[in-house]
Amino acid sequence: MSSAAVEDAPMLSPADIVAKQAPSERTGPNRSPLCRAAGLGLAGLARLLAGASVRWIASQPDTCQRVYFANHTSHLDAIVVWSSLPQSVRERTRPVAAKDYWSRGRLRRWLAEEVFDAILIDRTDIKVHQSPVDMMLREAGTTHSLIVFPEGGRSVTGEVGEFKSGLYYLAKKRPDIELIPVHIDNLNRVLPRGEFLPVPLLSCISFGPPLWLERGEAKLDFLARARRAVLALKE
């Protein structure tokens, strides 16, 4: 992403966002019963298949506006993290996913747009005036939380890669949002990169305590601190 253009952008307050845009219509309780049922069913199936145990470490589930940021190892990551949240939180949480993958084919698009209510980001066509961070914040409005994967892609080795700067700009533009680190363990063995059939091993999703951008904290320092927060949840 072109960072210079974003860095100069003024800080947005929640009130600005309300004034600028109407809340997205198909989110939350407005979705059709079929989509809600499919969401519930798939959340259960994903939890069962990935054998996910959920831990909240020095942290509690809450419907306040948050950004969950996690390490990325598998296509299942977004749906398993999403399904690990309690129902009331889940309804207000939107995964941020890659458009090139999730808009291919009708089923995938329906799942992404209607069931998971995902925000699809075009990784191949990022413009200065249409930055993904602005789009995420616009779609989140003042009520919704986001699930993001700051590595920007799935890691091949299972190691957590360096974070891209999007998380920093999210934190900078909306300092009121809590940033929750999430560590995903073992999902890369359930559905590794390049495979389409899952192996039902047991995985573990850990949510950590919230963090915020400190006043005057440099971009790289913040990104390194956020990455350490995810790694710290490993054990």
Partner: protein
């Protein structure tokens, strides 16, 4: 009809569990009795696990043979899941594992349910082995090839193949006047009871008299005294309950109890060794206080095949 035996057995188990629960609650309310509160907590959570176990078993038995086979199939599936989660695999094993979980394990239990001993006795040990070896080779990753395939193979044999001999007991034709319609279910329950009892006795005897550890590096609480004590007590319990297990004479039931206790001990040691190697204490946290599924069934996996074949020997029945 000889269902009096079933009623007696059910009533006995219920009475025992109720009494133990009463004692457990009493000890919990009176912490001044000089007993270790941690031990009381362990006892109580174990009891809760047994209540759950007995309820689930009773429901499955009531629904019949198929339901019981399905129940054991699900337990196997979950245990295998814990086993493979704990053993490191490489990406080259992924597709082999997919078929192991979604084809070989369910198909094996279908064969058990259909009473096809001729097929299910070789399906996993021979054909699944050949498949896993070949599939991993086709995947093109030769690094530590034998080690990786052996892990999958060991998981399949212990968690799936061996455990399935327990529900297979329901298929053995037993003749005699004391069998009744629920004779085979009594036999299976007899096995489960002996295995659980042997586990407890091993713990109790090791705690009371334990001096010589069998293998200190593998398990810090399994002693020769525990093994001996558990074998003796389990043989005595089997003798006391011989009337509940249809094909057995008194001496045969006693011998079965002895063998079950020894095999159960061996199973516990084996799983301990695997866990030690992987640096974990328990396989998971499904039933509170009971570790993972694999922690609960390790002794069963080792005892079931032997008990099955003892039953075949005693009845002289042709399986399948």
């Amino acid at each position: 009809m000889n269902d009096n035996r079933t009623i007696a057995l059910v009533a006995g188990v219920l009475a025992l569990l109720t009494a133990a629960t009463a004692v457990g609650q009493f000890l919990k309310r009176h912490p001044d009795r000089g007993l270790d509160p941690a031990a009381v907590r362990t006892f109580n959570s174990r009891l809760r696990g047994w209540w759950i176990l007995c309820t689930v078993l009773a429901a499955a038995f009531w629904l019949g043979t198929t339901a019981t086979v399905v129940l054991f199939g699900l337990v196997s599936f979950w245990a295998l899941r814990e086993f493979i989660t704990l053993t490191p695999t490489r990406k080259g094993d992924h597709r082999a594992l997919f078929w192991v979980f979604f084809l070989f394990t369910p198909l094996h239990y279908v064969l058990v349910g259909l009473n096809r001993y001729d097929v299910f006795s070789v399906f996993l040990p021979v054909y699944a082995t050949l498949f896993v070896l070949a599939r991993v080779a086709f995947a093109g990753d030769y690094k530590r090839f034998l080690e990786r395939t052996a892990k999958v193979q060991a998981g399949l044999v212990v968690c799936v193949y061996c455990l399935s001999f327990a529900p297979a007991l329901l298929q053995i034709p037993i003749e005699g006047t004391t069998v009744g319609p629920s004779g085979n279910f009594r036999l299976l329950f007899f096995l489960i009871l002996l295995v659980q009892f042997a586990d407890c006795m091993q713990y109790v005897w090791s705690r009371m008299l334990g001096q010589r550890l069998v293998a200190p590096a593998v398990s810090s609480n399994r002693t020769w005294e525990g093994l001996l004590g558990s074998a003796t007590s389990t043989a005595l319990l089997a003798a006391a309950l011989w009337w509940a297990a249809p094909p057995f004479q008194l001496w045969q039931a006693t011998l079965a109890g002895l063998v079950v206790a020894v095999m159960g001990f061996a199973g516990g040691m084996t799983m301990s060794a695997i866990k030690r190697d992987r640096g974990v204490k328990d396989y998971g946290t499904l039933v509170v206080g009971h570790g993972g599924v694999l922690d609960r069934i390790d002794s069963m996996c080792f005892a079931a095949p032997v008990f099955y074949h003892i039953t075949l020997l005693v009845t002289g029945a042709k399986p399948g």
